[in-house]
Symmetry: C2
Subunit: 211 residues, 2 copies
């Protein structure tokens, strides 16, 4: 009779995913963000309506508009949250490894493969957002650039720690390999493209013994 919680308890359970399962008891704001992230990234930003989001979140539309001014701002919040959560998970995994910077650079692709193998994997939200909003919405481009800047900074720091004489170029190359692995794995639904990219990274790092 309550009808309140029926829609909330659908994606619980222990998860091996990179993302923590969203608790049923989470705040409405968190439930809305989680549902919006799921739907935006699977069905598309424009194709996902706020009604579908609140339905999946088990929330009321008034609640959504109390926490977010508009759908556009909800998209911004989702991207920021997804980016932060992903970076926490990604750099956390990498930081927990033993080994030197070169080993960490190669381990990037092992962590990517774990990500790709998640049955919920839907690609990089920023790549997807840029693909959908090529023109217009410059704020989305800025959010994507900020995310990429975090990644780039980390990659460059690893290259510097390796003693790389051209850390910027090395970081750019790693960005190309990471983006390429993401897109290829997403398109073909084949996580092993992470290993393909790792092979290239390995050759690249071996080819420069000054690293």
């Amino acid at each position: 009779m309550s009808g309140l919680s029926e829609a909330r308890s659908e994606q619980t359970g222990p998860t091996q995913s990179w993302r923590q399962a969203t608790s049923d008891a989470a705040s409405p704001r968190e439930r809305i963000l989680a549902a919006a992230a799921h739907l935006f990234c699977h069905e598309g930003f424009a194709a996902t309506g706020v009604d579908a989001i609140v339905a999946q979140a088990g929330a009321a539309k008034t609640t959504l508009y109390k926490h977010f001014e508009s759908k556009e701002q909800l998209i911004d919040a989702v991207l920021e949250r997804e980016g932060a959560a992903w970076r926490r998970w990604f750099f956390g995994k990498l930081g927990a490894l033993r080994g030197d910077a070169r080993a960490r650079l190669l381990a990037v692709f092992d962590v990517l493969e774990i990500w790709f193998a998640d049955p919920e994997f839907y690609g990089c939200p920023f790549i997807n957002a840029i693909a959908e909003f090529d023109t217009g919405d410059e704020r989305i481009r800025a959010a994507a650039a900020a995310h990429k800047a975090h990644l780039f900074a980390w990659l460059k720091a690893q290259a510097l720690e390796c003693g790389d004489s051209a850390p910027d170029e090395t970081a750019r190359q790693m960005v190309v390999l990471i983006d390429g692995a993401i897109v290829a794995a997403q398109g073909a639904r084949d996580p092993s493209f992470a290993r393909t990219a790792k092979g290239l990274a390995s050759i690249r790092l071996e080819a420069r013994p000054d690293l």
Copy 2:
């Protein structure tokens, strides 16, 4: 002078873009397809309405629905046309080159950079479509897979001609580099990512002297 290469460079034409400028006198069907391609890829598939397409095409909505059953089928037709036109241009440019297969594999990234530098560059329509329709619409995934299969077959043929002992893996690596260059160039609006990817390809091809 050289009548041999003339037949292969037929696609370049007087326009500086990879795509022929669509003549105003083209058939309504062609105008609709061109306008739809432009709008779909710049504004997004879901965000582009048929009214905007016919307005830009200078056509009537009835004409659009006489040629295409639905917007969904129009998307299919646009993807097929875009893919065919791009492959004609891309492989045409590469086929016109002198040099062996290894040189052609490296030239891939020079041609990509020309593409990226087009002010109308909006990324790969198939990557963008997959990003927007992650779930649902399996026909779009099939169209993207067919396009990628063409590219993969060409890359593998070049690798075979090089005497590569693992042409499949080499072609996969090139796919990763191409996809990564496309996405990085699109996201940062920086065509030079083609050269970044070329550097990796070069190292990869040099690292295997058996090629």
